[in-house]
């Protein structure tokens, strides 16, 4: 297997990065990001927010009361 100059350089850079990366946890001020335990939920009904529902609740009750023949 022949290796080109750039290939060798890439490998060398990769190796150095690996050393830096493995050395990272030992350094202070290192930011660690963990994957969440729970699955990420994406609510598709973002156009109906709870605060909007709470704001409209009184008017909805009034509408139902005043038009009880269709509710």
């Amino acid at each position: 297997m022949k290796m080109t100059k750039t290939g060798a350089r890439r490998l060398a850079i990769g190796g150095r990065c690996l050393v830096v990366m493995t050395g990272m946890p030992a350094l202070a001020g290192c930011v660690q990001i963990d994957t969440p335990d729970k699955p990420i939920e994406i609510n598709l009904n973002i156009n109906i927010r709870q605060e909007v529902v709470y704001r409209l609740d009184g008017d909805a009750k009034k509408l139902i009361e005043q038009n009880s023949e269709i509710f």
């Binding site: 109906i48 529902v53 409209l56 008017d59 909805a60 509408l63 509710f71």
Partner: protein, 138 residues
């Protein structure tokens, strides 16, 4: 004695007037409730569990509907949408937002034996316990 007689005479018309007011009030109270009654076919389909309330604020079919029930539900849903549209405009919200908020209330108002749809889309029969509603419902 004479004074008492006078008082009796004075009270009589007042009593009659009170009775008349009471009668008028009774009529006035009974008229709106008679106007706001559900169509008998609608009430029957609801009670039979053929149709029920959906979380989106409209009626849906819990079982395959007859053409008559389908037409009835479509008619009511059109009227509901018109009412939601007017209220959405006056409250500065969208028709979907107002309809959804109404759906929260309509499912909460279902009587035991009536059908409602859960947020997951399953038709359930209302019992004495609180109905299964969307987490955003008040």
């Amino acid at each position: 004695m004479g004074k008492n007689g006078m008082r009796m005479k004075m009270w009589k018309p007042t009593g009659l007037a009170l009775a008349a007011i009471a009668a008028t009030a009774a009529v006035a109270l009974s008229v709106p409730s008679a106007m706001a009654q559900r169509d008998p076919a609608y009430a029957a389909a609801r009670a039979a569990g053929q149709i029920g309330e959906q979380p989106d604020g409209y009626l849906g079919f819990a079982t395959t509907p007859t053409p008559a029930i389908r037409a009835l539900v479509q008619d009511i849903n059109i009227k509901r949408k018109a009412a939601y549209t007017a209220s959405a405009q006056s409250t500065g919200s969208t028709v979907e937002q107002f309809a959804f908020t109404s759906g929260c209330n309509l499912i909460a108002n279902t009587k035991p034996g009536e059908k409602y749809q859960t947020p997951g889309g399953v038709w359930k029969t209302r019992d004495a316990s609180p109905p299964e509603r969307d987490a955003r419902c008040p």
